[in-house]
């Protein structure tokens, strides 16, 4: 969304108040380009001396980056002293704009927020026009850290006495998000550790299996998991103290004993009851949930943060619905709504519990709790650790009942009144202890389990021996250290590229590497590429249980085939066959280059393939792709 103020007026207002140079962050590339067009039409020209300064800086850069000289935006930038900077541009152009900005030649740059971390130039003023940013599919609110990274570009050390962050509204800006971002503390960061196939292969190349767990334990991920486990251990200690009055009685494990006895008693009663009701068997209280659901129920306790298909919430209570008697939870959603959802609809259980003061009636907690929870739930970080849930097989209930129904000492036991009275509290405590113990264990062994899962797949596919050493295949496969490595190595093993020309290999790598789903036009591709791409798609699909398939877009494959297949094709000629932005084409080819150079690493085991890759690399690196190392 463009800001509501016209870009020329915006810069005019800033100039008037001596607030330039400025970086104006806009939501989209489109908005940045539109702003430039507005300037192209306007007659706000720079004085000749300043135009001259821009020309001279650009003149120096042209030597290193020849593509700048022909850039269509060059005349406007020079005339009005304003530029756009976003991922749709070539890196060389962005470098030129950054240099102009560093030298103080420009009054303003329109940039997209997505690039904020990579934008390495400051200004006197930063203009913020939005409070959310498009991440993958949805718009997400900017985090405090992101807002401070944006606003922090204002005020150049040594060049400004003071910097300004100016907010100007655009439709759907939320001032609350921005003021919170400006005044608040940045969010703590969490590890995003994932275990990939190349990681498993490379670790096992260098270390024997019995050392791996210790190596994984050195990750930041495990460090943070341990922290959480420590907190739970403290809680566990407290629980043990609370458990003290419920130690052994006449029977050592009186809690279980009473539970089973009580259950058997009820079962009997209900059986009698159903018979009286006409002999039909009802799916009554004895009904059991599938083990996955049963395992989760322990965790769906008041205060627990959970994910639902739409958004997240905090559990206020767990109960069984009246008719179906299926487990249900009452959930507090961000914004304060209290909703009822079947426990089966919970998609994630997060490793976070808030304090709740429970009450027996709606809204199931004290008003004070509700207020603070509402506040906390709307401030949840974007990413939170999810609890791994271990599913435990339990013995068939009916078996227990059958064997034990008539064998209880309880009815005549002297401890019976005490057991009856304490049972509910003791059981709740004990369940909580178990839950905590399970969670702690999951926190300690989670990474290792994930590693084992990956290793198993690699064993099944012949990259690892049953004792987790690298096979001959594993030895070379570990050199492919990019996304979708499994697909690439499987393609190589299936001889998919034997006899393929450089442009075909490059085209396939491009379709594997490109992960942007912005639509592009569709230049024609060769028969050979079309049929190979079909094969790759099939293989990717068959690997889907073990590795997420890449987009495998035909248009980017066709584009790459053109570039490599025809060494006389110019950059401008290439840009003309697609609707993709220059910067996106550049990124596509640069990533393809990276993938090809990984294939080239296999030169010892696959000399033919490596040779094809090297030919493709040589042709690929020409024109603008040669400008940067």
């Amino acid at each position: 969304m463009p800001p509501s103020i016209h870009p020329v007026d915006l810069i005019g207002a800033l100039r008037h108040k001596h607030l330039t140079p400025a970086i104006v962050f806009l939501t989209s590339r489109r908005a940045c380009d539109d702003a430039m067009q507005a300037f192209q039409r306007s007659q706000t020209n720079l004085p000749p001396a300043r135009q001259q300064a821009i020309a001279s800086v650009l003149g120096q850069l042209v030597e290193q980056y020849p593509s700048i000289a022909e850039h269509p935006l060059l005349p406007v930038v020079q005339r009005v002293g304003v530029a756009a900077h976003h991922a749709g541009h070539l890196p060389s152009w962005k470098i030129a704009i950054e240099e102009l900005m560093r030298q103080g030649c420009l009054d303003a740059v329109f940039a997209t927020t997505t690039l904020a971390a990579g934008v390495d130039f400051p200004a006197r003023t930063v203009v913020v026009t939005q409070s959310s940013v498009r991440k993958t599919r949805d718009f997400t609110d900017l985090t405090i850290g992101e807002i401070q990274q944006l606003a922090g570009r204002a005020g150049r050390r040594g060049k400004d006495l003071v910097g300004f962050a100016v907010v100007t509204p655009s439709p759907y800006i939320d001032l609350g998000v921005i003021t919170k971002g400006l005044t608040g503390q940045p969010e703590p960061i969490d590890s995003q550790f994932v275990i990939s196939y190349p990681m498993v292969l490379n670790l096992l190349k260098a270390h024997p299996l019995d050392q791996i767990q210790a190596i994984l334990a050195r990750s930041f991920a495990q460090f943070q998991l341990n922290r959480r486990a420590e907190q739970l251990e403290c809680k566990l200690d407290q629980l043990h103290v609370q458990m003290e009055p419920y130690g052994p009685r006449v029977c050592t494990d009186w809690i279980t004993q009473w539970q089973v006895f009580d259950h058997a008693r009820k079962q009997k009663a209900s059986r009698v009851h159903t018979r009286q009701a006409g002999g039909t068997r009802l799916a009554g209280p004895g009904r059991r949930e599938p083990p996955e659901l049963a395992a989760r129920l322990h965790f769906l306790t008041p205060g627990r943060v959970i994910g639902l298909s739409k958004g997240r919430g905090v559990v206020l209570r767990q109960y069984r619905s009246k008719g179906q008697r299926s487990p249900t939870v009452t959930v507090l959603r961000p914004g304060g709504a209290v909703t009822e959802c079947p426990a089966a609809s919970v998609t994630q259980i997060f490793d976070r519990i808030f304090e709740v003061e429970e009450t027996p009636a709606y809204p199931w907690c004290t008003g004070q709790s509700l207020d603070s929870l509402t506040h906390q739930v709307s401030e949840l970080p974007v990413r939170m650790p999810v609890l791994p849930i271990l599913v435990q097989e339990e013995p068939e209930e009916s078996e227990i009942v059958q064997t034990l129904t008539d064998e209880f000492p309880c009815p005549t036991c002297p401890s019976r009144p005490a057991c009856q009275k304490d049972h509910a509290a003791a059981l709740r405590l004990r369940q909580e202890v178990h839950r905590n113990q399970k969670t702690i264990q999951a926190l300690h062994t989670g990474l290792w389990h994930r590693f084992q899962k990956r290793a198993e797949v690699l064993q099944q596919r012949g990259y690892l021996t049953p004792t987790c050493r690298l096979t001959d295949v594993g030895e070379w496969a570990r050199l492919i250290r990019i996304d979708h490595s499994l697909l690439i190595t499987e393609l190589i093993r299936a001889d998919a590229f034997s006899g393929a020309e450089p442009q075909i290999l490059a085209a396939i790598m491009a379709s594997i590497a490109h992960d942007d789903d912005r639509p592009g036009a569709f230049p024609r591709m060769s028969q050979g590429l079309a049929s190979l791409l079909g094969q790759v798609r099939q293989l990717a699909e068959s690997l889907a249980p073990d590795e997420d398939p890449p987009l495998l877009r035909a248009d980017v494959a066709a584009l790459t085939e053109r570039w490599i297949g025809d060494p006389t094709l110019t950059w401008i000629g290439l840009c003309r066959v697609t609707t993709m932005a220059e910067g996106d084409i550049y990124r596509l080819l640069a990533r393809t280059l990276e993938y090809l150079s990984q294939v080239y690493q296999l030169r010892e085991t696959h000399p033919g393939l490596a040779d094809t890759a090297s030919k493709a690399i040589k042709v690929l690196r020409r024109g603008v792709l040669e400008e940067l190392p």
Binding site: I5, G12, K17, H18, L19, K94, I95, A117, G118, D120, R124, G145, Q148, Q149, G152, R153, G155, R156, R157, G158, K159, D160, L161, V162, G163, F164, V166, V167, P169, P171, Y172, D174, T179, L182, T183, P186, E187, P188, I189, Q192, M199, N202, K205, A206, R218, F220, F223, Q224, G335, G336, A337, S378, R478, R481, E594, L596, S597, Q598, I617, L628
Partner: protein, 354 residues
Amino acid sequence: MTTDELEKLLAEQPVSRLHRLAHGRVYRHFRLGKRRLIETLLRCTPEQRSGLESDLQALIQEESGTQQPARERQKPAISRTGRSEWSPAKPASPVEPEPAESPADLTAFLEGIGVPEPKPFVPDAWQEEALEALAVTDVVVSVPTGSGKTYVAIEATKRAIEAEETVIYTSPLKALSNTKFTEFSRLFGADQVGILTGDRRDNAQAPLLIMTTEILRNLLYDAAGGEIDVRLDTLGLVIMDESQYIADPERGVVWEETIVFCPTQARLLLLSASIGNPQDIADWLTSIRPTPCHLIRHHRRSVPLRAGYLHPSGKLTPLFRSVGIPRAPHSPLHPEAKRLFAQYEEETLRPGSR
């Protein structure tokens, strides 16, 4: 009323009326903008929904009753076609009384713009502290943007090169690597700086090597697997710029791998913009590295920052009551900014205005 109809009706209401409606329903409703307010109201449970709808109708009737003839009030607010037949409240009844202009605040806000006197370069205390600590151990620097982290990197590099050690500088982005390559080549001399990418190695024997974090991770894997490529045995310093990337969902893991496999004889220098828990990162390094990590952290901006609000009309006001940016969340907004923003929302969010 369907959710869409209700949403449309809510969007037609002035913000003040939405706040009245939200009172007692939405926690801290007065902090929410119009869009948020509507979203939140729409999220109520089905039981609460009917109450909400009837209250809304009541509010509409009550406030517009004086202006509308009785028979019009009987009509449904939304017709079948979804177009509103109810004329929106006149902006003539303002949300808040218009406060008097306060040019004094604006003057204070814009006071002191300019270029500082050129001063000889004196390193900040935290920069010195970082360099001193780096002589013996790993350092994590978490300070605001534009504070001068590069100076620490450059000075530390100088010292390491003098001690005939190899230095590796990593950044998350190729573009940034490139900028730094140019900058460092100018500073140290072209023969002293090399750059490594997936398919190219320029001057790979130089004492200062620039690369993306992924390339360094691969080098470390190769070394662990027995293949030595770049001379890691003389490695004395590894600088990881923009290391808040460790929290990147896709690439963060590469930072962790690099740190875990970083040779013990080299010191690590992690440079990052402000993050909430740099102490955690430092504690983690302490737990896995031979020497306890030193953390440098502060929130002082080297150039003070102020926040303003620019209305689409071109009118500029301070955003907060105070001249600088207050450090407390929920700090009061400048009344003029608040009024102008409310006015903006009124104008843009009413259907048919865009």
